[in-house]
Symmetry: C2
Subunit: 211 residues, 2 copies
């Protein structure tokens, strides 16, 4: 498989380390965040030569209490995080609050201004929709929130059957576990298909849902 779209970052332009920021917040859905974390942290730790890092970012840098009650630690606050090349906005019940939070929407719009590739998992797309990042674009989200996305912005072209939608500088994913697939796609875009396959093998991602 070759990359369907050009990588978002000109890999020839610079040797500086590039950063992926994984946003965490109270009531983030646990697997929305930790699925991509597993994929991306495996990749970046085992292949520092690729020049990427990933870290978890919360507004104030403190741990968050995720939607199902697990505490997740942050590596950075909004103030201390490095400039991001890729932003990942997970979903979870906390997005219902964030999509109405002017400060958060302003932060997301600000990131959009400087980050080359913004991605969402699950209902992270609600926040992007509310912030105006998906206007006129194809996108997806958790199947239960498809209607809400178009209520927030009727110009969004829903792709309800897609596992994730890669629209160049924006990638949106379906619900919860879809973040794993999206993150593997991200590795393939940023470091090539073989690297993504290696990560897939490492996490033994040969899913066999038993029910």
């Amino acid at each position: 498989m070759t990359d369907p779209v050009p990588p978002p970052v000109d890999t020839a332009s610079s040797r500086r380390t590039r950063h992926i920021g994984l946003l965490i917040f109270d009531d983030v859905e646990e697997l929305d965040a930790v699925g991509p974390w597993e994929v991306l942290s495996y990749w970046t730790l085992h292949h520092p030569e690729d020049g990427w890092t990933v870290s978890c970012v919360s507004r104030d840098g403190r741990p968050v209490r995720a939607a199902k009650g697990l505490t997740l630690g942050a590596h950075h606050s909004f103030e201390t995080m490095p400039p991001l090349d890729v932003l990942i906005h997970p979903g979870g019940q906390g997005t219902r609050r964030l999509m109405r939070d002017p400060d958060h929407l302003a932060w997301v719009r600000g990131q959009r201004g400087s980050v080359r590739l913004v991605t969402s998992v699950c209902t992270g797309a609600l926040v992007y929709a509310a912030a105006g990042l998906l206007t006129g674009r194809p996108a997806t989200t958790h199947w239960e929130s498809l209607d809400l996305v178009t209520q927030l912005d009727p110009s969004i072209v829903l792709r309800p059957d897609a596992r994730f939608v890669d629209d160049g500088d924006v990638i949106t994913s379906a619900g919860v576990s879809a973040g794993i697939d999206m993150a593997l796609h991200l590795v393939a875009r940023l470091a090539g298909t073989e690297r993504a396959r290696e990560v897939r093998r490492a996490i033994q991602y040969d899913p066999q849902p038993p029910v």
Copy 2:
């Protein structure tokens, strides 16, 4: 699908709440723990009427630093946790230390004496093998650790192609992401196939590995 083996707990015998303990420790692999957590916490929080709870347990009750650098909080220490009906032992680099730690092996053997169903994800099976819990039994683990499992206990009957191996009162899983499949199987065993299907839909677990 019907359950291939009887449930480990006599659901008619008692109305007390039953507890699933998800062990966390330094250098636990993130997705080994959080995959099952997502499945089981969704189930138990949305269906308290089923009579089960799940919590994360660390030796001293403090947060742990997982293998890829994410901090995970514990809900209980070994001292404060409720008596367990099901134990889940994830894997990760930390198991190489735990499988040689007499205190940890003694704790695992002690749990085996009282817990009706012990399960592992990935290299959690190394600890069970070292503790003697898998003697003469069929089992699996992460594909890279199959040899090490049989070095620890040559009587173990490896099932290298299995996503998970349900041997009645012991379930072992393949690597990392296999914990999601094993946890869905666990829900099916403890609460029925329809309940497990509901959780699968909720986490939109229709995996489509893109590479």
